[in-house]
Amino acid sequence: MLSFSSVAKRYPGGQEALKDVSFALEPGELAFLTGRSGAGKSTLLKLIPAIERPSAGSVIVNGQNVGALKRAAIPYLRRNIGLVFQDQKLLYDRSVYDNVMLPLAFSGQTPHEAARRARAALDKVGLLGRERASPVQLSGGEQQRLAIARAVVNRPSLLVADEPTANLDAESAARILDIFVAFHQVGVTVLIATHDQALVSRFGKKILHLEAGKIL
């Protein structure tokens, strides 16, 4: 489903963010990526949807070598990956509902089917009653849940989240993680980066620990 082999990433300027990273996730697996800030978690996650390209080694997603993808092929790769960011990247000039509808604009569903999917995604994250609200009216936890709804509305087979529980209180963080676990349970491959070691150990899932660009 997702595999890294001997991946290195050097940024222009010589900074080496990742060194010889290798791991693989089976379809439907849930894994946590842990490590201190600056350990290379975000860099590793950015290689998956080809936001960054590896300097060496190969990143394989769904059998595709992401590092070798042509520019024009990248959108189609991304449609199959649900991305959740630490800063959510929501659009504040439109409603909760329209934020979730965004990925459906170009995926080719009929308007009826798109509306159904958007409501289903909002339902899964517990925001069905807030469709007309503006994202600014939502709490931090609700904003993060909205970001998850947008990430899953196209039913991706892989869900990647970067620090989805940062800046959230324990209760909200637990609720976010429960949502990810629910997706894992219906067969979605999930990779979650977090610096919160304590939070993840209770799940008993695979943990990839990054330190100074290497997996320990």
């Binding site: 936001i51 959108p75 990247k89 965004l102 170009f106």
Partner: protein, 293 residues
């Protein structure tokens, strides 16, 4: 196919939402100059087309000359190798021709008799008319020679100059249209930076992201073209109020005509295409800068 249509409809709606009336107005005001100028020139051209610009000499016989004298002169002229075309204009025909000119029938009616002489209209094979005109003037029976096509040529040159000037103006303002659209689209891309970045992250193709901006350029340009036509039409209508009064005092029904439908459609089409071009230049230049980090 239906998906494709739906996406285009979506892009069109998004472009319409973002179109600035002010920008279209600026384009319209700018383009009204060449559009209106073209209409003026076309109207004048239809008048000028009735004038001949060939190297022409007209020989007038004495008003009292007999038709036989005229025939004798005609035979002589036909023998001259320097003469290309020769046309005999009997005085009766000349009068008829004159009567067809607006405003003159009343004048001729007042005269009571035909004051016009027989004439030969000659088209010279040579460029320099002066020598030929002087020779022809010496022929017996010729009362006077008129060889100055110069004013007609000057008028033609002037019209040609005005035409070139208009095209230059149109080209200049067309470039201005491209620049205005370029800037509109640049600003629009900047204000939609977040949306574009997010769209790229969730799998929007470049084509999907660019489409609304292309529509924006196209529509804004075409709207400018329509506004330009409106301004030109209003300006010509206002001019015609004055022209009508002036022309009627000369017994003429001359009016400035508006652009022909084909030309008017061309103005809107060209404005749209230039807008599209401006949008394309802007999009290819600015959209690549926005990449998710």
């Amino acid at each position: 196919m239906r998906v494709w249509l739906r996406q285009h409809r979506q892009a069109l709606r998004s472009a319409l939402r973002r179109m600035g009336v002010l920008n279209a107005l600026v384009i319209g005001v700018a383009l009204s100059l060449p559009a209106g100028g073209y209409a003026l020139l076309e109207s004048l051209r239809s008048v000028a087309a009735r004038l001949s610009f060939e190297p022409q000499i007209t020989l007038f016989l004495a008003p009292a000359a007999k038709r036989a004298e005229a025939d004798a002169l005609g035979a002589k002229l036909r023998g001259d190798a320097r003469i290309g075309k020769l046309r005999f204009v009997p005085r009766e025909e000349a009068l008829k021709e004159l009567a067809s000119v607006q405003g003159l029938p009343e004048l001729i009616g007042a005269l009571g008799h035909n004051p016009l002489p027989d004439a030969f209209v000659i088209v010279s094979k040579e460029v320099s008319l002066e020598v030929l005109a002087a020779d022809l003037g010496k022929l017996p029976g010729v009362a006077s020679v008129q060889a100055d096509a110069a004013w007609a040529r000057r008028l033609a040159a002037l019209a040609g100059l005005a035409r070139v000037g208009l095209w230059l103006l149109a080209a200049l303002l067309g470039a201005g249209l491209v620049a205005v659209t370029f800037n509109t689209v640049r600003l629009q891309i900047l204000t939609q930076r977040d949306e574009i970045e997010v769209s790229k992250l969730i799998g929007a193709t470049d084509g999907f992201i660019r489409r609304p901006f292309y529509y924006l350029g196209l529509l804004q340009g075409a709207a400018g073209g329509v506004i330009a036509l409106g301004i030109a039409w209003a300006a010509l209508a206002a001019l015609n109020v004055e022209v009508r009064a002036l022309a009627e005092s000369y017994g003429s029904s001359f009016r400035f005509g508006f652009l022909r439908p084909r030309d008017a459609a061309m103005v809107v089409l060209m404005a749209g295409l230039l807008g599209f071009l401006g949008a394309q230049l802007s999009v290819s230049r600015h959209l690549r800068d926005i990449e998710p980090k």
